[in-house]
């Protein structure tokens, strides 16, 4: 694997050519916030939280999907980036009704953690308070659209890992919503295998296991480690 050298935050690093900026940064303990990204799933670049400044680029670039190249000069944190990231998470908090205090995933939620980490103690935008339904028709799991951030981890893992492609997105823009099959109740889905991968990868309390009450849902992802790691390496042309 050809090696390259690049500069991140004024420090020189060497890396493999097929690696993304995010992978290299994380390998060296440099923190870049992410939300839609999940190691081993195809990168989407939707949440924009991993934007970093790349010298010579007029706009910041997403670290999750941008492949490293020789001589790149990257800054992973600046006043501007921090402000942008804050605004992006504030937008997400305002978009749906993430009432943390009554969420099964309270204190175990990636969105909640990100907000605190980025220094958000209030949201300066209007809360949209959309009237969105919950779908508790599946025997073991439930979906609460009010807590969905449209990261599409569920869509991607269901398609690429489980092979069921139960989930997709209906509508577009601010009316986008996760749907099962032909927008039927999840309980009536014929393609869903009940594997639970979507539930475990969901960063918030949008997908959860029934029976959990406030703060009780903890996502268990270790059973996916091996397959996702294999996929991550395959994307770089390597194997376990």
């Amino acid at each position: 694997m050809p090696a390259i050298t690049l500069t991140i935050n004024n420090e020189l690093f060497s890396a493999r050519k097929e690696q993304t900026i995010l992978e290299i940064a994380r390998e060296h303990g440099i923190d870049i916030p992410t939300l839609c990204h999940f190691e081993g799933l195809e990168a989407m670049g939707g949440c924009r939280l991993c934007l970093v400044e790349l010298q010579g680029s007029p706009r910041p670039v997403p670290a999750c999907i941008t492949k490293a190249a020789e001589g790149m000069v990257i800054t992973t944190s600046s006043d501007k980036l921090i402000e942008y990231r804050k605004m992006l998470v504030e937008l997400l908090l305002a978009e749906r009704t993430h009432t943390c205090s009554i969420c099964v995933q309270n204190n175990n939620c990636e969105l909640q953690t990100l907000a605190a980490k980025l220094g958000i103690d209030h949201v300066r935008f209007d809360y949209l308070h959309q009237q969105l339904p919950m779908d508790a028709s599946r025997e073991r799991f439930a979906l609460d659209h009010n807590r969905c951030v449209l990261c599409l981890r569920c869509v991607r893992v269901c398609d690429a890992v489980e092979g069921a492609h139960t989930w997709d997105v209906r509508g577009r823009g601010s009316t986008s919503r996760i749907v099962a099959d032909l927008d039927r109740p999840w309980g009536n889905s014929t393609s869903c295998t009940d594997c639970g991968k979507c539930v475990q990868l969901c960063p918030t309390g949008a997908l959860y296991k029934k029976g959990a009450t406030v703060g009780e849902m903890k996502k268990e992802r270790s059973f996916l480690n091996r397959i996702l790691e294999r996929r991550r390496l395959a994307a770089q042309g390597r194997s376990l």
């Binding site: 924009r48 997403p62 501007k80 942008y84 577009r172």
Partner: protein, 572 residues
């Protein structure tokens, strides 16, 4: 058909036309049809049938002739005489014109447009050379005007590299709005390796207030096919697609017929013009998504998926349709190609200004006297377009702003009317060239309201993939609505600006990144209007209702009401 036969057909058709003592061209573009052009054509046809359908009298239903607000239009061509155009033609007037012309009498002057009318005189028509001059459904008439000669020239006299070089020399840049040098793009795709390559013509014209592409596809479909075929030869593709906006069924139908006719004549399909080059073109119909104007979204849509952009690189030039190198240009860009080779790249690049070469088609609309489709050399001052070609503002209104680039563009204020209209200068003003919509607004338009209008459009058209565009458009729209209804605070204005800047920098695709432009440009040039809404709760243009109170005033009002109640001795 081989090259010789092509030249023969051109010559024969031309001779037939020149032998006509009278040619009547009735504009059958959509606006003229809405104004009654079909009745005009029927009346003329009836008269001609009555005369026994003489071979030296020709009636042609053409595509758009240009001054769309004055339809139906009738152009009369007589040998040795200057061409004459009548506006707002009724069947009666058309028949009078026909009869007086036949009797070689003085033609009626009623509704006759002046010979030196600036709307026509100030234009330079390369792309629109045939629009309004030929029957769009007639292959012969296109060929008679030199059609497919550029393709023949490319196939028989030039190597693919020559063709790419020619486009580079012409200085042509993408007419869809981006302005990327077309020749460079062609060379990139030519150099990319792939088992197959594709050409895609983007006819998904979605900007509100723009109809250049529709008009071109409807008025001169073969020109686009020829441009695409030349591109196919240059980059080494054997398949092209035209992605036509779903709202344009006539354009799709004309293109379909043109493809069929061209294939039958050996101008498309296998062994084009007896060369070794084979090329097919298929139509794909859009299904109503503005974002599909973005190239990666468009490719997704052609492949039957949700039209959502993906992150570039890889650019379509390396990995486009089905992972193969793909050239994507706007249909107007392809419309320029035959002209480049018929007049030569040097002559083409003689038009224009700075880094913007050639001409640009605009849909001139709004509060101008002459609405319509125009083609002007790049670099023409905006003032000339508005006041000379457009004839100034209608109803004696005062010019306030010109909007270019649709929801991705901005508003140009009166003090910048002398700006040359080209890519760089418009960008410097915070607007963009865009695909060519040019909407003139008078003082009765509120700039905040206009910004809100465009934001509502973007909110509706956002694909939803990235957070800043999906949610940012909603929040910006709410802030603008608050400003328009009188309940905004100074802090809202500040938040609006921060949000716009963030969205511009962080959105995934060009649509999201450009969506704040109408807000940012009006904030830049018309800030006092925003301030008037927020500080004085007043809409200077008198458009916004301003019927809500900001919370701090609501509170004041409430306190007054409560103290009044208490004075009355009531308990709250």
């Amino acid at each position: 058909m081989n090259r010789g036969e092509l030249a023969e057909l051109a010559e024969a058709t031309l001779q037939k036309q020149q032998a006509c003592r009278l040619r009547l061209l009735v504009c059958c573009g959509t606006p003229c049809v809405a104004a009654g052009a079909e009745a005009v054509v029927a009346a003329l046809r009836e008269q001609l049938t009555g005369l026994g359908n003489l071979a030296d009298l020709e009636l042609v239903s053409t595509g758009c002739q240009g001054p769309c607000s004055r339809g139906p239009l009738l152009t009369v061509l007589q040998p040795g005489q200057p061409e004459q155009v009548w506006e707002k033609v009724t069947p009666e007037l058309a028949c009078t014109v026909l009869n007086t012309a036949l009797q070689q009498q003085h033609l009626p002057e009623q509704n006759l447009l002046p010979q030196d009318w600036p709307f026509f005189n100030r234009q330079t028509r390369l792309v629109l050379a045939n629009s309004g001059r030929i029957d769009p459904e007639s292959l012969e008439q296109y060929i008679a005007r030199g059609g497919y000669e550029s393709l023949a020239q490319a196939l028989h006299e030039m190597t693919p590299d020559d063709v790419c070089d020619g486009v580079v020399q012409s200085g042509l840049r993408g007419r869809g709005g981006g302005g990327y040098p077309t020749g460079l793009k062609w060379q990139l795709v030519r150099k990319s390796s792939g088992s197959r390559k594709f050409v895609v013509a983007n006819g998904d014209e979605g900007d509100p207030g723009a109809y250049m592409d529709r008009s071109l596809m409807e008025s001169d479909p073969h020109r686009i096919l020829e441009g695409i075929a030349i591109a196919g030869y240059a980059i080494g593709a054997d398949q092209g697609y035209i992605y036509v906006r779903g709202e344009y069924p006539v354009a799709a139908q004309r293109l379909r017929k043109a493809i069929k006719d061209a294939e039958r004549a050996g101008l498309l399909g296998s062994r084009v013009l007896d060369s070794s080059f084979s090329f097919r073109i298929d139509i794909r119909i859009g299904a109503g998504a503005f974002v599909c104007g973005e190239e990666t979204a468009l490719l997704g849509s052609i492949m039957g998926r949700r039209g959502q952009p993906r992150i570039r690189p890889p650019y379509p030039a390396e990995a486009g349709l089905w992972g193969c190198p793909t050239l994507i240009n706007n249909v107007e860009t392809f419309g320029n190609i035959p002209s480049i080779f018929s007049i030569g790249p040097q002559a083409f690049s003689a038009y224009g200004n700075g880094k913007s070469r050639g001409t640009k088609v605009f849909a001139l609309c709004g509060e101008v006297v002459n609405n319509g489709l125009i083609e002007v050399p790049m670099g023409i001052p905006l003032r000339e377009i508005v006041y000379e070609i457009g004839g100034g503002l209608a109803n004696g209104a005062t010019f306030k702003a010109a909007q270019t680039g649709g929801p991705s563009g901005g508003c140009i204020p009166a003090e910048k009317l002398d700006t040359p209209v080209d890519y760089e200068n418009l960008q410097a003003l915070g607007s963009i060239m865009g695909s060519g919509g040019l909407i003139v607004m008078g003082e009765q338009s509120c700039m905040v309201d206009v910004a809100r209008f465009f934001m509502e459009f973007c909110l509706d058209e956002s694909c939803g993939k990235c957070v800043p565009c999906r949610t940012g458009t909603v929040e910006i729209y709410r802030l603008l609505s608050r400003i328009c209804n009188g309940s905004a605070s100074q802090r809202d204005l500040q938040t609006l600006e921060q949000l716009c800047v963030m969205m511009k920098d962080t959105s995934l695709c060009g649509l999201g990144a450009a969506a704040p432009n109408p807000v940012l440009s009006t904030l830049r040039w018309f800030r006092q209007e925003y301030e008037a809404h927020v500080k004085d709760r007043r809409c200077p243009a008198g458009v916004c209702s301003m019927n809500e109170l900001p919370l701090h005033l609501l509170g004041e009002q409430l306190l007054q009401r409560i103290s009044a109640l208490r004075c009355d001795g009531e308990e709250y």
